[in-house]
Symmetry: C2
């Protein structure tokens, strides 16, 4: 696995349980996935990546940032790369993602490439005076995304873009955000978790409700849409499709991720097969596990670092005493305000009750 963040970390438990050897190329010695790190190095350095790849049977990723040059050099060695470079290219560039989604008939917000303030002004005028502008590459957790009403609001991005266009999108007045995760093997076998509802705060995933409440017909459409995308783009491993439910009850694709995703963390404690085990199975071309939920309702709440600088386990005493039934997950990261340092999951029969417990447990880790 290229990348040593919390997604690589959360791959360790299923790898241990299944007896699969997991090797991680981490950027730093103190990474979240350091226990499985076999190489410390820069994933943008072809020599580093090729040396790492020589020791493993299949390559996968905990982020979308591996440069095309590195992917091409890896592909030339013949080692299986899952997801493959052609699929990853779609996840790596938001303009290309919109192009490909449009080509395959997936519903997306109205969008355009904008190469400067004048083009952006035209897009704003055509879309009620507001738009969401995104840098094509490198964004995550709200970074690289701005809601814009004035074309000068992204002058810094235009200045830095070296002529590369930005992505302008219609500002979608959605009812709520949803996410559909599926996993797909090279053979084509596909498994879908239930559609989930996600609550974002400041562009960062805050809470996930699994399954999404009151979404029976939406769930079928979302599953079919995600399967269509996975097949059309030949994705292997986990594919996360972030969706808007529009005010008229439609679905629009917001973003794609081709790896385990924050909106699937609930599956560690709430599904027969977690997204991390499933990703392992899929990239190893093993038969997929049952993605069924193990409880009627699961709620995941992210734990963000606070100003105190305390680490998540520093608060275990009180949190565990009050909530012996809540599952706590620490990413072993130093706390910084706004940084994802862990998450927790509660399960039960009733969304309001489960959400109440999950939020109450999360309170112990705030501030």
């Amino acid at each position: 696995m290229i990348g040593g963040g919390q997604l690589a970390r959360m791959m360790i438990p299923p790898a241990v349980e299944l007896g699969i050897s997991l090797s991680v190329l981490a950027e730093t010695a103190g990474s979240s996935a350091s226990l499985a790190a076999t190489t410390i190095g820069d994933y943008r350095d072809v020599d580093v990546v090729l040396a790492f790849a020589a020791e493993v049977d299949v390559i996968t990723f905990d982020h979308e940032h591996a440069p095309p040059t590195v992917l091409a050099a890896l592909a030339a060695t013949g080692i299986p790369i899952r997801p493959g470079p052609h699929a990853l290219a779609v996840a790596q560039d938001k303009v290309f993602m919109r192009e490909r989604l449009t080509q395959i008939g997936a519903p997306v917000p109205s969008w355009a490439r904008v190469s400067g303030p004048a083009e952006l002004a035209g897009f704003l005028a055509a879309h009620g005076g507001s738009a969401v502008v995104k840098t094509p590459r490198g964004g995550y957790d709200g970074k690289g995304v701005r809601v814009v009403r004035d074309p000068s609001a992204v002058d810094d991005w235009f200045a830095a873009s070296a002529g590369e266009a930005l992505l302008a999108e219609q500002f979608v007045p959605f009812r709520r955000e949803l996410a559909q995760l599926v996993a797909r093997r090279p053979s084509g076998e596909l498994a879908a978790w239930p559609l989930v509802e996600t609550v974002q705060e400041g562009g960062v995933c805050a809470e996930v409700f699994a399954p999404a409440p009151a979404a029976e017909t939406l769930a079928t459409r979302a599953r079919e849409l995600a399967a269509h995308i996975a097949e059309s783009l030949d994705v292997t491993g986990v594919l996360a499709v972030e969706l808007f439910e529009t005010e008229d009850g439609g679905l629009l694709v917001n973003e794609l991720a081709m790896r385990p995703h924050n909106t699937g963390h609930w599956s560690i404690d709430g599904a027969v097969t977690s997204q991390f085990e499933q990703h392992l199975r899929a990239v190893l071309d093993l038969p997929l596990g049952d993605p069924s939920p193990t409880a009627p309702v699961s709620v995941m709440v992210n734990i963000l670092g606070g100003p105190s600088g305390e680490r998540m386990p520093d608060r275990y005493g009180e949190a565990m005493a009050a909530h012996p039934e809540v599952k706590l997950h620490s990413y072993d990261k130093d706390s910084r305000p706004g940084r994802k340092v862990g998450h927790l999951t509660a399960t039960g029969d009733d969304l309001a009750e489960v959400l109440g417990r999950a939020r109450a447990a999360a309170e112990f880790f705030k501030g």
Copy 2:
């Protein structure tokens, strides 16, 4: 954790999820828990153990074999040892175990110390001509246990015992075998999993049914008995109490183990808090997790090595395709006939149905 077997291995996933640093003193480089091994050395060597202990905050064990001299040296350093040496001494010596259980009023089979064939002949005569004879130390998985009808049948043990008595026990004509696992913190907080039924083959645990069927009143008595033992012996961490259900519906204590136990492996997939997470919480003196089952029925089946020498993952393709819902656990061990190399767990609503699926999945790993 002293000992690098599969119990240490299965402690890695909850340690990763909770963000707790787990260090293992393993005997060999290729141990089952090698991922967490920070020291390779002999747990009987005081210097090795003291050097390891200097790097950790609390000591626990994946087996009962740490010698009293090592435990005494550890205790002298002031590092917390959980379970403590006084508790471990009871688990280490089957004669002492019988003495202490008798002292605290726990029901046990009729027993005696026997120092030679003459004493054993007397015991046999008083108990219908048969007895179970055990070596006080070092036995596991049926090793060090013989059913005896002739006093000469353990002459080799008497010859090797250097004057130390063997344990002779009444042969109990039991209805079935059960196990009650509890976890206890230094503060005294205690949590109990459901009573389970265990099926042994050749002295080795083969299957576990959780909860034990048709055992409502027995379950209450077993829980109270295990709590009484844990408190009386001041056990910290997981305590496994192996029990016989006698033909008249009584309970007798067969063996104790003061660590996660084969009869608790179902809890990884079938309980809110697994025995491995709970052991970590208990030995770190953190509040205990909820031991409730997450499904009405869980069945665990052990996977033993076969003559083919194939490793468990070699058979994943067929097993996973046929049973996407079954949870597979490999201990990353070379297969040898009779060696425990992994286990699997199925969950559901009906014991017969779940057992059928678990056994069908286990068939893929036989031979």
